[in-house]
Amino acid sequence: MHTSSSVPEREAAQSGAAQNAQEANRPVVLGERSLWLLALVRLLTGWLWFQQLFWKMPPDFTGLHRYVVEESTATFLPGYAFIIQHVFLTHFLLLGAFTWSAELLVALLLLLGVFSRLGALLSTILALQLYVGLSAAPGEWYWTYGMLVLLSLALLAVPTGRRLGLDQWLSVRLASAKAPRVRRVLRALV
């Protein structure tokens, strides 16, 4: 059998490849600047949700009604129009109260940076609902809600509340909490 290189050369090449693979797979640690920048993104995303509370204020949530009706005709998900027409629109005040409260909760979690990953998760769910309901509506740019989903997912991936937020304090408190299961669950949301 003929080989193109000697045993020591092959061993050196294998060792080099292993070193490269180790370097390429090294965990990425976010620097301070990146964390501060992402905290700013979190603050403004929270403000986005907060601002949108004011055109559908309680007690009648008037501004919301038009969009729910539009969702019933524009959604691309089979069966969703039926749910909107026969459940959501028939109990509109309940839907309005739930939507408004959920958006307020998301806004506060992201603005205060408290359980910011929970805020990002709820933001993703709300944005997905908007994408399903409104992305195919006439006059809407389908990427608008898609980008909101992606933005929320990005905030879910990184602990953005650890800077300019209460999660910085909460993460220290949770690290010393006594119940391990509760601690693990809560730390995942920070």
Binding site: L43, W47, L164, G165, Q168, W169
Partner: protein, 142 residues
């Protein structure tokens, strides 16, 4: 003195960051008229600029006061963040609630109350976070 000046700098930075809240709207920046209206300084021509400068000035002023208290009392991270929130709440209570709403108008509308209280609370939180960062960096450097 250094802590007080650090408070002023943290207040300026916190006000700059949170000024984005007043800028992002259909104007852009129409909400800055609301800030100018707190001290009855609003006008069609210069209202936005006055609102922006007033927001920064209030940020620096309350930052200096924050630094003054922190010079006498050295809180932990939780204490600094909590006291930052309290500073934002006091800013809202004195400037917006009393001088901007109750005194000239005599009534409180829920929407206006909610809209103005949140940016000020977040200003306070950001102030506390920045101040803690500045102080711990100084300690590490020492």
């Amino acid at each position: 003195m250094r802590t007080i000046l650090q408070g002023g700098l943290a207040g300026l930075l916190a006000a700059l960051i949170t000024s984005l809240f007043w800028f992002v709207d259909y104007g852009p920046g129409n909400s800055l008229h609301t800030v100018a209206r707190w001290l009855m300084l609003d006008s069609a021509d210069a209202g936005k600029l006055v609102g922006f400068l007033l927001w920064l000035a209030l940020g620096v002023l309350f930052g200096l006061l924050f630094g003054l208290v922190l010079r006498l009392w050295h809180p932990t991270l939780g204490g600094t963040l909590f006291f930052g929130l309290v500073t934002g709440a006091v800013n809202w209570l004195l400037v917006v609630f009393v001088a901007g709403t109750l005194w000239p108008h005599g009534h409180l509308d829920f929407g206006g109350f909610l809209f103005s209280s949140v940016p000020l609370l977040i200003y306070g939180l950001v102030l506390g976070s920045l101040m803690f960062h500045m102080q711990t960096r100084r300690l590490v450097a020492q």
